[in-house]
């Protein structure tokens, strides 16, 4: 509120606020319900203290309702169904209105719940309702002084430079900028104006399309969804992202080395799409809505894509290094290279670190959308992306949900003791096999309950785990033997420090991806040394050097690595990559 405002309205606001507090009080509501019951059954309510006011406001509303003035209780409805009477009263007599106000509105409310009275009720509510400003803007809040014609004329100017006022895909960068859109919106803009069918767009088509967009979509998120979504949909599905991402691959400088290896485009795109859905589609619906998009940092990342030449800096979605790590990890498991892995394959991940019981759960359909995962026992590459990110960073909400789904074997929303025991049993066997004496289940349980501190004793819910800063330790205890031992051997003070800096440092996933990337690169370097082509230590920084030198090298499974130049002739793609 502006400070210049006089005291009077503020006072009234306070009164209203008190009224609302009173109205939303359970005791009040139950009292009112009782009154309503009485009124319904036609009984008289003894409200003698309000008698006088009733009479006053009765004359007020006399012509409002004729039929229902049969008894006093009915009259009271009418009398009190005028909320305006309280708020329009001058504040001089506000002590009086304060008394009527609450009762008046309360009864008004009970009237509104009584169908027969709705007719007399409606106009008042409407009056009240009209003065509440619109608050729901599914397409973003419209800007007050948006000069659409001005914007359009700018676009037309750009088009006038093109031959026949037609733009091809190469021109779209300029058009996107004229539309004040991030550069990489260019292909979606092109497609929506029909360019994907004809290969070019005319100024008329584009302007018509963009004018409509500006009129209906008022913020970045809704425009983006409008551009990418299928006709008639107000959400984005996985395949909606493909043309957009293909364009990023085609035209981003940081991915130039990938240009010559089209087989890897779809793998990279799949990876990015999965990461988008992992981070943005927090409702697990498979449909990204405007509001989910607004809550995420995805669109900011699209903007950054334009400014940042090195995609590897965009660690949330676009990093090639991250893709490289995920894909290499998958490749190691996918021995027959059909892009699907079965339970045995997945069990080999990280040297059998994950328990069989958990692997079974991952294949049970709780965390995978495709029913074939369960029916045919095979996990796709896309599903593996979810698995690996969840496995390597157990602190994000999506990851916690992922593992909770897996551990809640009976799906009742609670990790019960028997479920924990089920998973811990296998951990014990593993430890014994490693000649380590396991903690008894009871002791382990005590530790874990102390760690999670569930709200209801002995019942761990998803919410408890989300609140627990050490939930990754909890999960690893039950299904990842290697990480469990790591945690066990960790200095407890280090753990404390970790908790203090929780959320500030880079994520577990980024740490993992960076380390693994270095290892993978070093492995390749070792391979390359046999060839004695060059002895450049293959750090990601080496990329430019090597590419300048024009050196070529073979990878152990032929995936383009951003740190080397590619010579297509060197590649013999596996058939099943097609």
């Amino acid at each position: 509120m502006p400070s210049a405002q006089v005291l009077q309205p503020v006072l009234k606001m306070k009164v209203d606020e008190l009224f609302l507090n009173w109205l939303s009080d359970p005791a009040t509501q139950s009292l009112l319900k009782d009154y309503l019951e009485l009124i319904k059954s036609g009984q008289h309510i003894d409200l003698c203290s309000k008698e006088t006011q009733d009479k006053r406001s009765l004359s007020f509303n006399e012509n409002n309702n004729v039929a229902s003035q049969k008894n006093l209780s009915e009259k009271k409805h009418v009398a009190l169904s005028s909320p305006a009477s309280a708020s329009t009263l001058p504040s001089g007599s506000s002590s009086n209105s304060r008394v009527t106000g609450p009762n008046g509105r309360v009864l008004r409310r009970s009237v509104s719940t009584k169908k027969a009275q709705v007719r007399t009720e409606e106009p008042i509510t409407t009056a009240l309702s009209e003065s509440i400003p619109k608050f729901y803007f599914p397409q973003g809040r419209p800007q007050a002084n948006l000069n659409i014609d001005g914007l359009i004329s700018k676009i037309e100017k750009i088009f006038s430079q093109f031959p026949n006022e037609r733009a091809t895909i190469e021109d779209m960068g300029q058009v996107a900028k004229a539309c004040e859109c991030p550069l990489y919106w260019k292909v979606p803009l092109f497609s929506l104006a029909g360019g994907d069918r004809t290969g070019f767009i005319s100024v008329h088509k584009f302007v018509a399309m963009w004018r409509k967009t500006l009129q209906t979509c008022h913020d970045e998120a809704s425009k983006f969804v409008h551009l990418l979504a299928k006709p008639g949909c107000n959400y984005l599905e996985q395949d909606d992202f493909i043309p957009f991402l293909q364009d990023v691959v085609n035209s981003h400088a940081g991915l130039a080395f990938l240009k010559e290896a089209p087989d890897f485009h779809s793998r990279y795109i799949t990876t990015v799409i999965q990461r988008i859905f992992y981070n943005v589609n927090r409702s697990w619906t498979g449909k990204i809505t405007c509001s989910e998009l607004r809550k995420s940092n995805f669109l900011q990342n699209v903007v950054l894509l334009e400014q940042e030449e090195d995609v590897n800096q965009l660690t949330d979605f676009f990093s090639y290094e991250h893709f490289y790590v995920i894909y290499c990890k998958f490749w190691e498991l996918d021995t027959d290279h059909d892009l699907y892995i079965d339970q045995k394959d997945l069990a080999r991940h990280n040297d059998q670190a994950i328990s069989h019981r958990m692997i079974e759960r991952i294949f049970s359909g709780t965390v995978t959308r495709d029913r074939r995962v369960y029916k045919e026992g095979r996990l796709s590459y896309a599903d593996f992306v979810w698995f690996l990110i969840s496995e390597e960073d157990k602190k994000t909400d999506t990851s916690i949900e992922y593992w909770f789904r897996c551990m809640d074997v009976d799906g009742d929303g609670v990790l019960s003791m028997y479920e924990l025991e089920y998973f811990y049993e296998e951990q014990c066997q593993k430890l014994e096999a490693m000649a380590i004496e396991p903690l008894s289940f009871e002791d382990c349980l005590c530790q874990m309950l102390d760690l999670v501190k569930p709200e209801v004793e002995g019942k761990i819910t998803l919410r408890d785990l989300k609140k627990c800063k050490l939930c990754h330790v909890f999960f690893d205890t039950f299904f990842n033997i290697e990480k469990y031992l790591d945690h066990e051997q960790k200095d407890p003070f280090a753990l404390m420090r970790e908790m203090e800096t929780y959320g500030q440092e880079i994520s577990d996933w980024e740490k993992y991806a960076a380390e693994e990337y270095d290892i993978l690169v070093a492995e390749e370097a070792a391979n390359d040394q046999c060839n004695e082509v060059y002895d450049n230590p293959l750090s990601p920084l080496g990329q430019h050097i090597t590419s300048e030198l024009g050196l070529t090298k073979r990878h152990f499974f032929e995936i383009p690595s951003p740190h080397c130049n590619l010579d297509l002739d060197e590649y013999e793609y596996e058939d099943d990559f097609e």
Partner: protein, 589 residues
Amino acid sequence: MAGADGDDSLYPIAVLIDELRNEDVQLRLNSIKKLSTIALALGVERTRTELLPFLTDTIYDEDEVLLALAEQLGNFTMLVGGPEYVHCLLPPLESLATVEETVVRDKAVESLRKISQEHSPVDLEVHFEPLVKRLASGDWFTSRTSACGLFSVCYPRVSSTVKAEIRQHFRTLCSDDTPMVRRAAASKLGEFAKVLELEYVKSDIISLFTALASDEQDSVRLLAVEACVSIATLLPQEDLETLVMPTLRQAAEDKSWRVRYMVADKFSELQKAVGPEITKNDLVPAFQNLLKDCEAEVRAAAANKVKEFCENLPEDNREQIIMTHILPCVKELVSDTNQHVKSALASVIMGLSTILGKDNTIEHLLPLFLAQLKDECPEVRLNIISNLDCVNEVIGIRQLSQSLLPAIVELAEDAKWRVRLAIIEYMPLLAGQLGVEFFDEKLNTLCMAWLIDHVYAIREAATCNLMKLVEKFGAEWAQNTIVPKVLGMANDPNYLHRMTTLFCINALSEACGQEITTKQMLPVVLKMSNDQVANVRFNVAKSLQKIGPVLDSNALQTEVKPVLEKLASDSDMDVKYFAQEAISFLALA
């Protein structure tokens, strides 16, 4: 802000709306809880067109907020314009029924069930049933699980073609890939069976029931047991043997103890559902097995049902069944290794005496009661003592006192003070069960003896016990039986016993009332202010402080005040201190 230019009175509503999307969860939660106020202010039209889409859109939130929202929407029918428009509530509830947190999903389903009743049959088919279908064929188990709870509410009011579809969907979910969905379907099987026509119960439900009851997951199988009760109630007696019993027999011998536990836990319901004949032939041996189960949890659950099971046996040969089949098992349970089992048994075993009558009780049950009364576990003993009244009715107080009292007295005088302590705690209960006469005759001496026990904890508990007894039997009883004995101890040579008098007075004054306190207790307390032991004197000061509020002002001024003043100038530091405390507390300065 809305208030700046528009009508000021609307400011709070606008604020509430604003706070629906505040960063602070608490504010959002507050706003959601006042959702009906917001809707009321907006009117039905804008609630439908703006508020509900807004809520549907912002559905991803903290689960506390979502839980509150899911609950609110169940009561929103009038606020969207009555039953005619109730289907407007479906989209937000549908989203809520698919979120990650189970409590929210369950609440959304609850609200959906509620508002389903407000749909007209047409709306039910046009709006509600398609929603159920969407949920039932959702990608994730979360949505399919939610669907399970919605079939039974729409089934009775839709056309026969839609009914057939609903049955088909339910069948599909019963054989879902994920155990979570099968579990949800199993838990709703009984409920769904109830709304189905009998022919479909026989043709559809039974096969689903049989399949779920032999599911690979025990969490599914055990829920089938629950459904068994409702299904058995629905079927005519002659079909039970072929349609239900094979499955039930199998469940009672399931390899998972959790399933057997469920059978034991639902035993009385099952017994009623299948009727007396099957009970005699099938359930009695099954029950015997459960009582002898290798898992303590199962034995405990079965033990809990002993009385109810016996009560519900057909009367013609009830006694014979109990004596030959049940009692031998019960006897074994009395000396079970697990205290939960014994304790469960102790809580119901006394009830058998009413069923078996006086002679059998004396001959067969009393020894068991005695054994349990002497059990090392206090909970077992407590359960026996707190149910003495039902035995009392059957065999009479004389018999009871002859048989059980010695055991109680024995415990009361046990060498271990913790055992004595346990018995003291049961005294008020026992007194209430056995009546004042019996108490005076048999137990009063015990209670008084504890006052001079050599362990402080016992004396303290004994004091507290007296207070509870007075509360039970009244002031007059106290005056006649307890007060004289307590006051007599004021002259005891042992100062610890003299102090016990004071402690008792502290505890009793309020229960005894002003008259007894002023006339009988006060003089003794005042007299003790001359005790040569300082501990006694400062306890006198403390006692005066404690009983002061019970006394009238006259007594305070003329009798208490001089004594406290005297004590306030005592040579002992502590006595002075507590006397001054009492003076200021009673405002006598």
